[in-house]
Symmetry: C2
Subunit: 331 residues, 2 copies
DNA sequence: AATTAAAATGAAAACGTTTACATTGCGCTT
DNA sequence: AAGCGCAATGTAAACGTTTTCATTTTAATT
């Protein structure tokens, strides 16, 4: 590997001067600057990010960590895409950590990220009171949370108004004439699950529809749980006429069950899902869904992270983006 | 940050000894070992991967690069998941580089990866003769290619038998009675596109069905191109009775077009897609598709990469995994 | 008890940067 | 012509490891 030393030798200067032209830092004579630039080009020199990172905390080394719960979920893929794109525009690479809702794995990934000396972290933590993440935050690591926040601690957060998103979906179902509306929720310990439940209940209440406990099922936010819980609902003595599904994967699971039973959507059973996908209109019938601006969530998170890195004292922001109900034909 | 120096001081030894116990390297007295381990625990010491990486090329620093063309494509997400999982089991982090079929971005990401001093790289390069990737490979960087190889150069590759996969799909369509079978391909410069075309043609030939140029459309491997090209096919004076779609995203685009036109699958038009998805059976009708073991591709690639890192002289392997035709109801 | 081998440890260099500090040289002012 | 200020450059320490080499301690052999 060709190092600054090689460049310095070739250009007949000291490494300090090379460093100066590389970072546009301090004064350097125009003649020597071009000499050095030529040497850099000739040798195809590339600075080592590793050495830079080791040497100075004060200068950004362009490496972010991304900690997400489940890369199988298209929502997080879109968030990740937004993060990646903006990070790249900022000349930064990302270490992707997918912890699959496994807290132990999450913890180990946090260890790794710390020891990689990342500039900052974008995380959707498993728990709102994740002690390790809190510790790292207090230790000065720039952190932005997405989709979920951290309790009792100041941190930048980018998320969506989950309650209102759910409210609008369920309200729409009611206004469309559905009476028995079920909710298939994700993991109960995830804040968004509870907020979406709240929106569901509020919509029922506001429209004078009694809440019925048997119509709400909590699962694990995954595909199979959508399959299973949808089955349970349809097997009810008095089954629902519409289902509101708590996320992407649950929706797909529920659809599988519905199709298997040869039920017609929306005649036999209507469905509105939380989370839209770019191929929702490829479904048959095209899916009515609550769209989260996932890509934008990722982008905004990186923006906030960069700001935070530049100004660690800046007061924290909670950025709440709007959802949009994409009305198609499944309800 | 607490360093080896702090540990050494606390334990009353030199950093060399601390390093020795950390790496189980060289002899160290049992008593001092426990003393040091205690100090590590007390101080919550975590070794800096950055320093380790800077210091020694000879010891693995547990960082891999992953270079993929399109994270919106669920196939690559699954590959990525396989890579991530196995890398994690190997205590390694991954830098995820999504170049979105943009060669300039790919090049810059390769620069970054080099300057991050990764241990190895898993890549699905944009071009089979990518000069920079070849150069890095020759420079000694351990590389494993997935989905696509590199021409004229020895490198480990993990992929699928694209020709046979396509052949089986089209053969199945023919055996099911379809006569006019179209193929919507991805980017023509991607090897898999051409190999799938070959399988398509071979199946036609073997079954004595004449090849008709108007039934093959090349696009850009993305969703919109599936929408558009499917439209063009259906607008043909003599439209096809079945479509074989060249990847995931194209399939979804084609489905969107078909649903929009209120055509019935498979009565009006049958469809078989290359690439299965875990939610293919949630589609209506459930999609018949050629399944690539994407997750396994990722896993195998990491295995090969680790072997290559341990033994740079090992001769190269091309690992070809089998596809499976998932017969559902769309054809 | 003397010699030797092996085990245990430490000192210091090296990895490739940044950066504080020191030094040089040059053009001004007086 | 001495002094000053500033631009231009260099020297060397530091970041946190690994690793070579040297040194000390311990144990084993005679």
């Amino acid at each position: 590997m060709v190092s600054m030393n090689d460049v310095a030798k070739k250009a007949g200067v000291s490494i300090a001067t090379v460093s100066r032209v590389l970072n546009n830092n301090g004064n350097v004579n125009e003649a020597t600057r071009v000499k050095i630039l030529k040497a850099i080009k000739d040798l195809k020199y590339q600075p080592s990010r590793v050495a830079k990172r080791l040497r100075s905390k004060s200068v950004s080394s362009n490496l972010f960590g991304v900690l997400i719960p489940d890369i199988e979920n298209p929502f997080y893929v879109d968030v990740l895409r937004g993060i990646e794109e903006l990070a790249y525009n900022n000349n930064s690479a990302i270490i992707m950590c997918n912890f699959g809702q496994d807290e132990k794995k999450e913890k180990l990934y946090l260890d790794i990220l710390q020891s990689e000396a990342i500039d900052g972290l974008i995380a959707a933590p498993a728990r709102e009171d994740d002690p390790q993440l809190k510790r790292m935050l207090k230790g000065g690591l720039p952190v932005v949370c997405v989709d979920r926040g951290l309790r009792d601690v100041d941190v930048d957060v980018v998320l969506v108004d989950n309650r209102t998103g759910a409210f609008n979906a369920v309200d729409y179902l009611i206004k469309s004439g559905y009476k028995r509306i079920a909710y298939i929720a994700g993991l109960p310990e995830i804040p968004s699950s509870r907020l979406r439940e709240l929106g569901y209940k509020d919509a029922l209440a506001e429209n004078g529809i009694p809440f019925s406990k048997e119509l709400v099922k909590f699962g694990n936010s995954k595909h199979e749980s959508g399959i299973k819980l949808c089955s349970e609902l349809l097997d009810l003595p008095n089954p629902p006429d519409a289902i509101f599904t708590g996320n992407n994967l649950i929706t797909l699971g529920a659809l599988e069950t519905i199709h298997n039973r040869k039920l017609k959507i929306p005649e036999d059973i209507a469905i509105v899902g939380f989370d839209d996908m770019y191929w929702s209109s490829s479904l048959n019938p095209p899916l009515t869904a609550v769209r989260q601006p996932a890509y934008e969530i990722g982008k905004r998170a990186v923006e906030l992270l960069i700001q935070r890195i530049q100004d660690p004292e800046r007061s924290c922001i909670q950025m709440t983006l709007n959802t949009e109900l994409m009305k198609r034909s499944s309800a």
